[in-house]
């Protein structure tokens, strides 16, 4: 490894979770907490992307269904279903939101500078929501572009 490449490498902690068997990664700095499933309140006439609200320790938090944007089929809750509460700027406003995952796997350290563009399976994932893939053991994990993924208005997502 040359000196230059070592300088540009930046290690970051990521949370690895699964949706329908696929591994996804999100920066740990965005993760507020991980919860067992809690009751959700459906919002009538809301979009399928943000269908409900949950009470996270006294705060009302929107529940976001990222499968919608990742073109994935819905899955039934199981024993391993977890709610991941994130805190991140959405359209410039700090926002707390929750996503439902099939399972939360681990927190891993990864070299963000070694992020690879999505190989041949590029057509499967809408590219504006995905930053690239990272190595996760022998597997690959999709590193999500939280900025675009959680944008309330899909038209604005670049």
């Amino acid at each position: 490894m040359t000196k230059a490449s070592r300088q540009s490498s930046s290690y970051e902690m990521v949370l690895i979770f699964r949706l329908s068997g696929e591994a996804f990664a999100i920066s740990v700095s965005r993760v507020h907490e991980i919860l067992d499933p809690i009751p959700v309140t459906e919002v009538p006439n809301a979009t399928a992307f943000a269908p409900a609200l949950v009470n996270v320790r006294g705060a009302i938090v929107p529940l976001i269904d990222i499968r919608q944007r990742l073109r994935m089929q819905p899955e039934r809750p199981s024993n391993s279903t977890r709610l991941v509460v994130l805190e991140l700027p959405v359209a410039g406003i700090p926002t707390r939101l929750a996503i439902m995952t099939d399972a939360v796997e681990e927190v891993a350290e990864t070299d963000i500078s070694a992020l690879e563009p999505i190989p041949d399976l590029g057509s499967r994932w809408p590219e504006q929501y995905v930053s690239g893939v990272i190595r996760h053991g022998s597997d690959l994990a999709i590193f999500l572009d939280t900025e675009n993924l959680f944008c309330p208005d899909p038209e604005r997502a670049a």
Binding site: T41, N45, V90, P152
Partner: protein, 654 residues
């Protein structure tokens, strides 16, 4: 603007308030011009001039100086008050506000100072004061701002002891400028008090340790001296008269009340940023929720229950106290309309009197902040469309002077604001034709009069035959309704041809906490704001009638349209046999909302939606119930309007 010096921020805020008061003073002058009133105007201008120069608002100070000159002349009886002077003064005041909003000297302020309008204003001021116009925009007129206003009169000698607060220097206070300004009032003899000065190694350079004793000889009243120190209200200040000269000519009764006013202002009230109040309100909201939960858990234990009752009492008290802090008298908004009515009277060539009533009625600050614009729209509408021209009024046997009456009163948890004019009234037939032309109404529809009147709030509706600069563009009333909706209020219109129109706004006293009715639909619980609820009835299937494609419900011989919430929410129809109807009112009509059950009443803290749900129609926000679950709060007006509009859209297809 974030790193603005807090002292300058305080100056801008205070000056803004002072200038708002100035508008009232000027308008009062038009009706009654006693010397006290004129003095008050003069003092106001003098204060703004002096402190403006001190806080780096040189352009403002320079302009105010000329304005002040004019009133100096009025004070001396060399200039009389007439409509022209008031017009000019009001415009000058507006210019001062514009200069103040520049946030100090800079390119923006200079541009304003050199704008043709400003120069015209100055020229007009010079014309009445008789000064030469050569020094319109001179840059170095600093001496002017503190120019002594020497008048022949009995000079009095004052002993002023002034000790700034230790941190005042850090906040940008400049004792030297204050003393210099005092020098403008008359000859001064200044001595510094250095007794508080610590030894060198203990000295903190940013702290102020000095005090001053100033002997001042002036013919100005005590209030003029106090005005110099008006923005140094943390300082220790004592102004005493040295009784060496023969007793002063100035009326002491005039000086005393004003000085006690100043003391009352600084000592008995605290200026708090609104954000801090919001924070308290948030915390209180959490407390109310936690208390509701506690209440639910305690019902099994008698001993615990008594404690919970105690807590409930305390929370209620705390809530009322906190809400009352946020309350302001509605006068704050009403005051602005005198100017609006005056300006419009001139513009429209109509003589109109504004009468305000119930200005002491209190309402939440958030509501007040958003209320003034819709009220302006409505007053303009009354004056432009409602009130007829003088000739038409005389022909109709009415006094040629029109009247707009603006009144407020509290009724339960709501504040009712009424705008009533004695104009021509609404022309129901003209509204009907217009609505048909605009496609807002089908030609065969037979709406009631009140339904017709509601149409004036529809987007793009305007019955004015001619569009004036004031109104008639059809945007105003639409904006009024959306503001009132956002405040969870409602609008009612009553009108009689030839006699006038009355528009009533019903607004909640507060936006933070509402009394809600809990209803169940399937497994979900919703909250309907109690203010919108008229009554609850059982839904007897036999009472349902299908009439003219509309689903109606017969309640005590009155037909009431109803909405099935299942249908509105796009849910499968309820299979429960005994259902209930909550009768709500919106836009002056009654409407039934069908639900599965009514669970009871509770006090609800409204949490507004995040960006993800803000555009979902029909909800005002959400709340957390005693059992920890989230319930949605129904916004009756938007829900009903949308659902009824959809129903009308669907009708032609069926």
């Amino acid at each position: 603007m974030d790193d603005i010096n807090p002292a300058i921020g305080a100056f801008v805020q205070e000056a803004q308030e002072i200038l708002e008061g100035l508008e009232d003073l000027l308008l009062d002058l038009e009706d009654r011009s006693d010397p006290e009133q004129i003095d008050a105007v003069f003092r106001t201008l003098h204060t703004v001039k002096g402190s403006g120069a001190m806080f780096g608002f040189g352009t403002l100070a320079r302009f105010t100086h000329h304005f002040e000159d004019a009133f100096d002349r009025v004070r001396e009886g060399r200039l009389s008050i007439d409509g022209r002077l008031i017009d000019l003064s009001l415009r000058a005041r507006d210019h001062m506000i514009a200069l103040l909003n520049c946030g100090g000297d800079g390119p923006q302020a200079t541009a304003l100072e050199e704008a043709p309008e400003a120069i015209a204003l100055l020229a007009a001021l010079f014309e009445i004061t008789g000064s030469e116009t050569s020094k319109t925009t001179g840059g170095n007129e600093d001496t002017e701002t503190t120019a002594p206003v020497q008048q022949p009169g009995t000079a009095r000698r004052w002993l002023i002891r002034f000790v700034p607060e230790v941190n005042a220097l850090r906040n940008g206070m400049r004792p030297d400028l204050l003393i210099e300004e005092l020098g403008g009032l008359g000859p001064v003899d200044v001595s510094a008090d250095i007794t508080a000065l610590p030894s060198m190694d203990e000295l903190e350079p940013t702290r102020g340790y000095l005090g001053w004793t100033i002997k001042l000889e002036t013919d100005q009243p005590k209030s003029a001296i106090e005005a110099v120190f008006i923005f140094a209200d943390d300082a220790e200040l004592a102004i005493t008269e040295e009784m060496i000269a023969p007793p002063a000519k100035a009326d002491p009764s005039e000086v005393e009340p004003s000085s006690s006013n100043v003391r009352e202002k600084s000592g008995e009230s605290v200026r708090v940023p609104a954000a801090k109040l919001d924070e308290i309100m948030d915390q209180l909201g959490e407390l109310v929720i936690a208390q509701a939960r506690l209440c639910q858990m305690a019902s099994a234990d008698a001993e615990l229950e008594s404690v919970v009752e105690e807590i409930e009492r305390l929370v209620t008290g705390l809530r009322d106290a906190t809400l009352s802090i946020r309350m302001l008298p509605i006068e704050v908004v009403f005051g602005k309309f005198r100017r609006v009515v005056r300006d419009l009277s001139t513009e429209l060539g109509k003589v109109v009197t504004l009468i305000t009533e119930g200005g002491e009625t209190e309402i939440d600050k958030t509501v007040i902040d958003r209320l003034s614009e819709p009220l302006v729209h409505m007053i303009r509408n009354s004056m432009d469309h409602g009130i007829e021209s003088g000739g038409a009024r005389t022909a109709a046997g009415k006094p040629s002077r029109g009247t707009v009456r603006l009144s407020a009163r509290q009724e339960g948890g709501e504040v009712l604001i009424t705008i009533k004019d004695d104009g021509a009234g609404l022309d129901a037939e003209a509204i009907r034709l217009k609505a048909i032309e605009r496609g807002l109404l089908s030609p065969e529809a037979q709406p009631t009069e009140s339904e017709l009147f509601q149409l004036i709030f529809a987007p793009g509706f305007s019955t004015a035959k001619q569009v004036s600069s004031v109104s008639g563009r059809g945007v105003g009333m639409d904006a009024v309704r959306s503001t009132v909706d956002a405040l969870r209020g409602s609008i009612e219109v009553a009108s009689r041809r030839g006699t006038g129109t009355r528009v009533t706004l019903r607004l909640p006293v507060t936006l933070a906490i509402i009394d809600g009715l809990l209803v169940r639909l399937g497994n979900a619980v919703f909250v309907i704001p109690l203010a919108a609820v008229e009554e609850c009835v059982e839904l007897d299937a036999a009472e349902r009638q299908r009439e003219s494609g509309r689903t109606m419900l017969c309640i005590r011989e009155h037909l009431v349209p109803f909405l099935d919430l299942d249908e509105v929410f796009g849910w499968p129809p309820s299979v429960e046999s005994r259902r209930r109807v909550v009768i709500v009112k919106f836009d002056g009509q009654r409407l039934g909302l069908v639900v599965d059950d009514i669970l009871g009443q509770n006090q609800t803290v409204i949490k507004t939606f995040s960006q993800y749900h803000r555009d979902v129609p029909g909800f005002a926000g959400a709340t957390i119930l005693g059992d920890g679950s989230v319930a949605l709060i129904i916004d009756v007006a938007t829900l009903a309007r949308r659902a009824l509009a959809e129903r009308i859209e669907r009708k032609p297809a069926a």
